[in-house]
Symmetry: C2
Subunit: 295 residues, 2 copies
């Protein structure tokens, strides 16, 4: 399948750039760098950076422009997983089939590795923006990413998620968690890809819309997988959300409704993407892949 | 004393702006905002933002320009204290005479409040830079701040500090910790104050030099105070560093040498600042105050 080759290409581009960013001289802080690398190169699917690249390529062709921001998004995603896995948070021992960061590097270093990744993501983006002749779209993008990752975005979602553990929550609260904890950092790459490509306001809004729908579909699928998925494919125990007494979309709305909702969201994504003709085949296929996945 | 009035004025300006930044609508993430506010308004001396304001005023007069960056530095400093106090790090129960963030809000929320403050500091700076007609000095400053706070700055220093607990470390390692854990975030405000004021390269370098010397003097003084300070004035048990078996400057170099070193560093600060005549009286006085302090 052609789109899967494109996916591989994008992943390789991202991984190559990440290798560059983490190819640092060994210093007294070596254990910190090692802990950061442990999670960054732990087999993540690079969905967020790939979304940024694919969105950018709908409107422009100089991929190098968007690459630092794509990599920064992966760093932010990775830091959020490290902190989320900590004993004081989700207390997870495994992630992608490997021991979590704090299990290998200890809690203190894991906290600092998360801090380091968040901070480094901004270092990387700012160093790039500083060298641009017209820095406006780049600052605009860093600003969007900072908001998506922040207290009214991802961190806000993590907070409400943490506080909802062991509690029955309402649909409104679950919606807040999904929109902020997950969808915000799926929306940001699609949006900043368009911003950096200097797309029109309408195109930027379209990409933002696709991101919101896809982020929600992705998270509901995650919840569904936790119920019906296969332990080996997931790399974490099935039903772990249930064990932690976490409210999930199927728990609140039922499994059938959840499956239908994912399809509805996917359709609304197609409606927008189809406006961009064959250029958007990759994003259409990737969206389908993300909602069809079994792990 | 006139300079102390100036100090109060600066502190009030910073606190006023911080109040604005944390005057947010109540949302589902309210407990996160409350935890962030708890530490931001816990009685910090606002040294870092005041240094940024004072450095700026050596070269320009429109304080509003530097204020968002001054406040962002305080947010970064505060997040580092929250994470540093966590059980997996220094495991401190008190900070400035009050229970530490995780003692009040729980470990999970404390981790997220730290993440939130770091992220929010960038949100605040980027939102400002985005609105500037000539954003270059502002992006330059955010870049400097991100490096000072990062894995080759403050977070690097925290890492080596954490790994040195309970160990006898050499002078070189202690130097790394002091330069990165503390001095980097004392240097950054002095440097970015000059950058945002569009000072000359030489002036920016002078401010950076003053920052490095002051940061080191400040940290050595901290180590000295832990040995000879008064518990009530410090708000934490005297000798707590010793209890944690942390290597300090006096432990490695002796108390007399340490006291002399602080004086030497202070003299080198005066040598530079005196070039700026009466304009630099405030910074001279503040430097003296920081090395003379008893808590």
């Amino acid at each position: 399948m052609e789109w899967k080759n494109q996916f591989e290409d994008y992943i390789n581009i991202v991984n190559g750039k990440l290798e560059q960013y983490f190819n640092m001289p060994i210093d007294k802080n070596n254990s910190l760098i090692e802990a950061m690398k442990y999670s960054i190169f732990a087999g993540g699917k690079r969905i967020r950076p790939v979304l940024a690249l694919a969105s950018y390529q709908l409107f422009a062709n100089n991929l190098e422009e968007v690459l630092p921001y794509a990599c920064a998004l992966e760093m932010i995603h990775t830091y959020s997983l490290i902190h989320d896995d900590l004993p004081a948070m989700d207390n997870d021992d495994y992630r992608r089939g490997k021991p979590t960061n704090h299990k290998v590097h200890g809690e203190g270093i894991a906290i600092l590795a998360g801090d380091g990744l968040l901070n480094y993501s901004f270092e990387v983006m700012l160093a790039d923006a500083l060298n641009r002749e017209n820095p406006k779209p780049f600052i605009h993008s860093i600003n969007e990413i900072s908001k998506a990752a922040g207290i009214h975005g991802m961190i806000g979602g993590q907070t409400v998620d943490l506080q909802s553990e062991g509690k029955v929550i309402d649909a409104d609260t679950l919606d807040y968690i999904h929109k902020n904890k997950t969808a915000a950092l799926i929306t940001a790459p699609l949006k900043i890809g368009a911003i950096i490509a200097k797309a029109s306001e309408e195109d930027i809004e379209n990409m933002e819309y696709v991101g919101k729908q896809l982020g929600l579909a992705f998270q509901i699928k995650d919840d569904i997988l936790d119920i019906i998925g296969d332990q080996e494919k997931l790399g974490k125990p099935v039903g772990s959300d249930e064990d932690n007494k976490k409210s999930t979309y199927p728990a609140i709305h039922g499994l059938d409704f959840s499956i239908n909702r994912v399809q509805e969201l996917t359709n609304s994504i197609y409606d927008i993407l189809s406006k961009y003709n064959e250029k958007s085949y990759f994003l259409q296929n990737l969206s389908q892949y993300l909602v069809d996945r079994e792990s």
